[in-house]
């Protein structure tokens, strides 16, 4: 039996999930304002995040971003860390159906929201979302690092009705930088996926 990289990572994630369940649930809200900040931060907090339709418990430093919670705690490494300052768009996810930057979202503040990552886009394992397929068909990337963020924004672009013409697509997508400058092909991919890609 051969394991793909994705299956191996998924297996690791399950292991981590089991470990975190054993940890005590020290909730962030329990820390009173008078507690010394450094001491408060030294106590791990447990946050339940709804990711791709599943409730996942993460035990983390209060400072942990949603991006780091996804990548480092849940091994959902499809979401990429580019600048970590909200300038590049590589970390784009959907929060309650709208695009958001996971690097500028604190994990603790994401509880109670519905989060979709690139791993949760396709209808079933082993299949591709129409926008993912369109990026392949139209060669919408070179190195691929910005691609998950590009695809998350592309889906929202189509769903929210901003994919009518190339100018509108470019404006909607301007928060996703591509160092390889695959921009024309990204626009072409969105145009190809437009009829069915907003789901």
């Amino acid at each position: 039996m051969t394991l793909t990289r994705r299956e191996l990572i998924a297996g690791t994630a399950a292991g981590i999930g089991a470990t975190t369940l054993l940890r005590s649930a020290g909730t962030a809200a329990a820390a009173p304002a008078s507690v010394d900040a450094a001491r408060a931060a030294a106590v791990p907090v447990t946050t339940t995040l709804n990711i791709n339709g599943r409730d996942l418990r993460v035990t983390h430093d209060i400072r942990t971003s949603l991006l780091d919670a996804l990548r480092e705690h849940l091994s959902l490494t499809g979401t990429k860390k580019g600048c970590d300052h909200g300038q590049c768009g590589a970390c784009t996810v959907h929060i309650d159906g709208r695009t958001a930057l996971s690097c500028l979202t604190l994990a603790v503040a994401a509880r109670g929201h519905s989060i979709t990552t690139i791993e949760g886009l396709a209808a079933a394992p082993g299949r591709l979302h129409p926008v993912q397929q369109a990026f392949i068909d139209k060669d919408g990337f070179q190195c691929g690092y910005c691609t998950p963020g590009q695809i998350m924004s592309s889906v929202a672009c189509i769903k929210e009705g901003f994919a009518d013409d190339a100018a509108s697509i470019r404006e909607f997508m301007s928060g996703n930088l591509c160092r390889c400058a695959a921009y024309p092909n990204i626009v072409a991919a969105i145009e190809q996926a437009r009829p069915q890609g907003g789901a």
């Binding site: 009173p32 304002a33 768009g89 500028l104 503040a109 924004s153």
Partner: protein
């Protein structure tokens, strides 16, 4: 990022109580309110801001995210997102300058995250403020000087500056609001008060680390834009180094009530140019009652930049601003208002 403790506010009263150590937009306040986080989390990661306590306002977003338009004007909940206001049909039809200022700001992701209240309070992009390796920054380290004065100051302010700070107010939305004489509803320990947006931000006054006039525990809960015959014929012109997803190097918010070619009322805000959101009432008065010719537009533009102080790299700014004002006036003049 420095450690902090964290609490969620489930009501405005909660927020006011938990936020008692906030206030005046002090860069070094021990407590900060967290809303969209697009400025705060960034500056905390840069260790420019090191609050020891965060009060998360996000549980309030649902309750205080209403938009209503009636004959009195436009009311925006402070927790409306930039994107939500930008796509609202009546905001677009009756207050286009507001919708445009939002659409031309940031990126779609940031517009989804950022609240309108937080947007008003966003901090400067001055690189000497944002990089703690620079020792001199009166805004970040009071009394340490200003590295920008003799530094790379191409994007620094030319209006409303003094010897302590030339940081530029980075926002667009507040520029549209100040032109329309917007009022804010604030809630704090002493109850609710209504203030003009024009009174929210401070001048540097030798204390640029204090950015606004909010009292301890006080937060913005609502924004009111009074109705007027000028709001429908309004526009926001933004000049940037790249076409999208960039801060203004010059911008103009213009609203006009015209009687044929004659200006009954003019409103003018300037962005990318000043220490705080900027309105030029002198230029508005110059326009009032005049026939709106190119010559009159240029006179108003000159009036608006009266008193500009430049520091070398930003010498180009006053002229760019004048041309931006003329362009915005022309654009507003040629509009066919829908409402």
């Amino acid at each position: 990022m420095q450690p902090f403790s964290y609490q969620r506010a489930d009501s405005i009263a909660d927020a006011v109580r938990l936020g008692r150590d906030t206030g005046a937009g002090d860069v070094h306040a021990s407590t900060e309110f967290l809303a969209g986080g697009t400025t705060l989390v960034d500056l905390m990661r840069l260790e420019v801001m090191t609050p020891s306590h965060l009060v998360d306002l996000n549980p309030l977003r649902q309750q205080h995210a209403q938009i209503s338009v009636d004959d009195q004007g436009l009311d925006l909940g402070a927790f409306v997102s930039m994107a939500q206001a930008a796509r609202h049909p009546q905001v677009n039809a009756r207050y286009p300058v507001i919708a445009e200022s939002l659409k031309l700001a940031a990126s779609q992701q940031l517009r989804n995250m950022a609240t309108l209240g937080g947007n008003l309070l966003q901090r400067t992009r001055c690189p000497y403020f944002r990089d703690i390796s620079w020792q001199s920054c009166n805004k970040r380290a009071p009394g340490s000087g200003c590295a920008a004065m003799a530094g790379v100051n191409r994007n620094h302010a030319v209006l409303g500056v003094d010897d302590s700070c030339i940081a530029q107010y980075a926002g667009d939305f507040a520029v549209a609001l100040i032109a329309l004489d917007a009022q804010l509803t604030l809630q704090g320990p002493d109850g609710t008060r209504r203030v003009a947006l024009a009174g929210l931000h401070r001048d540097p006054g030798g204390q640029p680390h204090l950015e606004n006039n909010l009292a301890p525990g006080e937060l913005i809960t609502g924004i009111h834009v009074p109705a007027g015959a000028w709001t429908a014929r309004s526009t926001y012109v933004k000049v940037r180094d790249r076409e999208s997803y960039e801060f203004a190097i010059a911008s103009a918010a213009v609203a006009l009530h015209l009687d044929g070619d004659i200006v009954r009322t003019a409103r003018l805000g300037l962005g990318g140019m000043a220490y705080r959101p900027w309105r030029s009432q002198a230029a508005e008065q110059l326009l009032q009652g005049r026939k709106l010719t190119r010559d009159v537009m240029e006179q108003a533009a000159h009036q608006a930049l009266e008193g500009a102080v430049t520091h070398g790299h930003n010498d180009y700014k006053p002229e760019l601003a004048r041309r931006t004002v003329v362009r915005a006036l022309q654009a507003a003049q040629s509009l066919q208002p829908r409402a």
